[in-house]
Amino acid sequence: MTLRDNLRSVLRVVEHHAFVYRRTWQGSVFSTFLNPILYLAALGVGLGAFVDQSNPAGIEGVSYATFLAPGILVATAMNTATGESTYPVMAGIRWLKTYVGMILSPLSPRHVATGQLLWAGLRVTLGGIVFLGVMIAFGATDLPHALLMLPVTILTGLAFAAPIQAFAAAQTNDAPFATLFRFVIMPMFIFSGTFFPVTQLPELLQLVAYLTPLWHAVSLARGIALEMLDPVVALINVAYLCAMLVVGLLWSYRTFSRKLAE
């Protein structure tokens, strides 16, 4: 198979997801679009009023809402990517077996895995565009900065989606997903710099925070938004997320192949 054939096959899988999304998009409107806006409104504007009052110099020199928004942007990318890469993968392999149906056609488990990842990336992109629009409306950023933050958002989504879909494909039931949300995703959401600078944490926990992928994503997005990007740190951030994406995708080739075509 040529690269072109492979690419076309991957796009067929994306097309399938789009077909299903056309029927089911209503269900995800809240989590993808409204949740992050509610966070920004409640915490950024509501709580932010108190924060800004007691801290007139601002965090990193900006209002709390402006500080918070890029964090919410990439944390939402993480959440959307996680959601898209857990239950839908379990359904495709075990519950509805639609992926099993796919590999009866010329499509292979690798096409299915790559297409699944691209679809998660598309969902993240869609959510990211809407949220960046809201950020501009709130005055938390402007268009040029938003255009730079979009690729960071997409990379964040793909970096999380890849290893999580690999993990999801390897499971025999959905119980580990609850564990994943409770003990990995949720703590990261709260402690990786989304809501406050990690320098506020005790030193040991700071180190832990620096190791989490979400911190790297937040560091990039906030660095762009507040124009405080350190080139070396930014490079490490990008390398970290890219490594996660590549390793995760290769891992998912293994688990998808094992489950679909053993």
């Binding site: 198979m1 509805l96 099993v100 149906g101 075509a261």
Partner: protein
């Protein structure tokens, strides 16, 4: 048909599938010729599905030789699948999509244009008698309808060969007959059918030739008629006795009985003339509570070959 000199569509020699220490398929040999309806008959766990999945290029061959449509599944799986129709044991339909959408998206996997997908989908829905369900969701359809939709889906790429893994398991008799009728019609159109089943009536009705599988191996091969002639008598006399206790039949009607098989609830006497045997036994004061003379079937062949019944 099995002696025709054409290149076989499937050629398997010493085909083996192992999962760890477990051998699911143990060195089986078979060929399938174009236009044939070929069956794998055997109980659950005999290795039928594993064999089918190797042929369908969704499960790698552990050992042995396998050629499908003249190609190697190991390196050309995708090209082979492009020309196959596969009806897996469990339906893999998209429950969130409509009947029509299921066919459209599946056609897309084969790189057909939407226009072509729609044209074929309309035809196929007519063929499986689901035209009026075109716009409905898949979820509420009956088992038989879902099965017919899966069959229609497997035909979207106009395959030369269709693999059907237990096409009617779990369907009620009426739904089964409708599926059989459609498969028969495909066969008449020259499509090669390969199916697995543990229903002997299905194998007898649809298969030109079949192999009997048991414990990962092929134990017999032939047309249904030839297998029955070879491994069973013309007729069977089934006798049931009070309290399920079969009396001693030693020497009774012995010249008419070729073989007997004691089942938990009845005894089967293999004979060429069931009526004559029944009369002889009656004269010998053997009084069953019920009796039945029937023609031998593939079930009897299986019993003879393995000492067990197909569906336990």
């Amino acid at each position: 048909m099995s002696t025709s000199p054409t290149t076989p569509l499937i050629h398997a020699r010493g085909l083996t599938k192992r999962f760890g220490d477990f051998t699911a398929v143990d060195a089986v040999d078979f060929d399938v010729q174009p236009g044939e309806a070929f069956g794998f008959l055997g109980p659950n766990g005999a290795g039928k599905t594993s064999t089918m999945r190797m042929v369908g290029c969704t499960s790698p061959v552990t050992e042995g030789e396998l050629e499908v449509l003249g190609m190697d599944p190991d390196t050309q799986g995708s090209d082979i699948r492009r020309r196959l129709g596969v009806v897996p044991q469990a339906d893999t339909l998209d429950m969130e999509l409509t009947v029509m959408e299921n066919l459209l998206i599946y056609g897309r996997y084969f790189d057909l244009s939407y226009k072509e997908c729609r044209r074929r989908a309309d035809e196929l829905l007519q063929f499986v008698q689901l035209t009026e369900k075109s716009g409905s969701q898949v979820e509420p359809l009956s088992g038989g309808m879902k099965r017919r939709l899966t069959i229609a889906r497997s035909l979207i790429n106009e395959p030369e060969m269709i693999l059907l893994d237990e096409p009617t398991t779990g369907l009620d008799p009426q739904a089964r007959h409708l599926v059989w009728e459609r498969l028969y019609s495909l066969k008449n159109q020259g499509v090669t059918l390969i199916l697995t089943t543990h229903y002997m009536d299905e194998a007898e009705q649809l298969c030109d030739r079949l192999v009997v599988m048991d414990n990962a191996r092929i134990v017999a091969e032939g047309s249904p008629k030839a297998l029955i002639e070879q491994y069973a008598s013309r007729e069977v006399l089934e006798l049931r006795f009070e309290d399920l206790k079969t009396p001693d039949l030693t020497g009774k009607g012995a010249h008419l009985i070729q073989r007997s098989e004691q089942l938990p609830d009845r005894i089967l006497l293999y004979t060429d003339d069931g009526e004559a045997l029944s009369e002889t036994l009656h004269a010998e004061e053997i009084r069953p509570v019920s009796q039945l003379v029937r023609r031998s079937s593939l079930e009897d062949v299986f019993l003879r070959l393995t000492g067990r019944r197909l569906i336990e």
